[in-house]
């Protein structure tokens, strides 16, 4: 199981999204995980998706459970902000998933990005 804990779920452009990933899979199951800060669109149009920052982290097979991985993702000053319009929404989230041979469903935590 993966849990994402954010220090704040609302940040401004130019600030940093900080928090921690609490990883409770059995150690032998996965050796590596990946965390991404992404923005994406929803609405009438096709989806745009872009990761802004990412971090890989190694799972220690000898560590006790659960393992904790802190992260800090700076948001660029000219990134898109969270937006809820008529045909289009721009949304942000932190997503974490195990590095595996098959694509695993990610664990996600939404954040709101405000202008500077």
């Amino acid at each position: 199981m993966i849990e994402i804990q954010l220090e704040r779920d609302t940040v401004r452009l130019g600030e940093t999204v900080t928090g921690k990933i609490i990883w409770s899979f059995p150690p032998a199951k996965f050796k590596e995980g990946i965390a991404k800060l992404v923005w994406y669109t929803e609405g009438r149009g096709g989806q745009d998706y872009e990761y802004v920052q990412q971090m890989r982290f190694d799972i220690d097979p000898d560590a006790g459970q659960p393992q904790i991985f802190p992260f800090a993702f700076p948001i660029p000053g000219l990134a898109p902000i969270s937006y809820d319009g008529k045909l289009l929404r721009v949304l942000w989230r932190v997503e974490v998933f195990p590095m595996a041979m098959i694509t695993m469903q990610s664990t996600q935590q939404p954040i709101k990005v405000l202008p500077r």
């Binding site: 000053g77 319009g85 008529k86 045909l87 202008p115």
Partner: protein, 234 residues
């Protein structure tokens, strides 16, 4: 800021939307109003195609090569349409200089409050009758999506737009005997946005649109894309 790349989404803002720095401020020119070298080259190509294809139709007809006749006729029709469109554009650009706007700042921010100046000159004559200028500042969303084509197995691409903010300025009169149009507009970008956004399939754009109606000369519209970054004026 104009030397930097502005990326407000997954696509860079096209450089032709960047204004030129000028002693009077930042100047944006409506590229649709400009007669370019490409237009001249295309006109020459279409003209040469016509000159060469018309005698060829006669020769092919008498030689009984009906497939070649059909191909040359289609080529001639395409060239005539191309020349017609370019001719209309040339006539318009020959009557008025390209529309220009002057802004004190670039890019714009949320809560920005400034005076924008619009200018367009008549190239050859003065106005015989009074004209009118109408300007609108608007923000709109543009989204692109695919739908299954009803006639084939392929997908059709559709685009939809929706205006999310709009301010229409009162119409201004251009007096008779004027040889240029020059109007100023008080612009207020709302403090809550929206910001310009450019994705691959979705966009939010700000546009300043001006329609000029000059009786006896022309009726034409100019549009200028403004860049509003997500930063609040303090």
């Amino acid at each position: 800021m104009t030397d930097q790349v502005i990326k407000l989404g997954s696509r860079k803002i096209e450089r032709y939307h960047f204004p030129q720095k000028h002693p009077e401020g930042y100047v944006l020119v409506d590229r649709e109003d400009v007669w370019t070298r490409t237009n001249t080259i295309l006109s020459v190509i279409f003209f040469l195609v016509l000159i060469l294809a018309i005698p060829g139709i006669g020769q092919a007809w008498f030689a009984g090569e009906l497939d070649l006749v059909l191909m040359l006729v289609v080529l001639c029709l395409g060239s005539v349409i191309g020349l017609g469109l370019l001719g209309r554009h040339w006539l318009k650009s020959n009557k008025l200089t390209p529309g220009e706007i002057f802004m004190p700042r670039f890019p714009l921010r949320f809560g920005e409050d400034f005076t924008l100046r619009y200018r367009r000159k008549l190239r050859h004559k003065q106005l015989a009758k009074p004209g009118q200028v109408q300007a609108t500042l608007l923000a709109f969303e543009q989204v692109t999506y695919s739908v299954q084509s009803s006639s084939s197995s392929s997908n059709d691409t559709r685009t939809e737009t929706a205006t999310v903010w709009q301010h229409q300025f009162p119409a201004q009169e251009v007096p008779a005997f004027a040889s240029e149009i020059e109007e100023t507009y008080h612009i207020q970008i709302p403090r809550q946005g929206p910001a310009s956004f450019e994705g691959q399939l979705n966009a939010v754009r700000w546009q300043f649109q001006v329609t000029v109606n000059l009786p006896g000369v022309t009726k034409d519209a100019s549009s200028f894309q403004l860049i509003v970054i997500p930063e609040v004026v303090t």
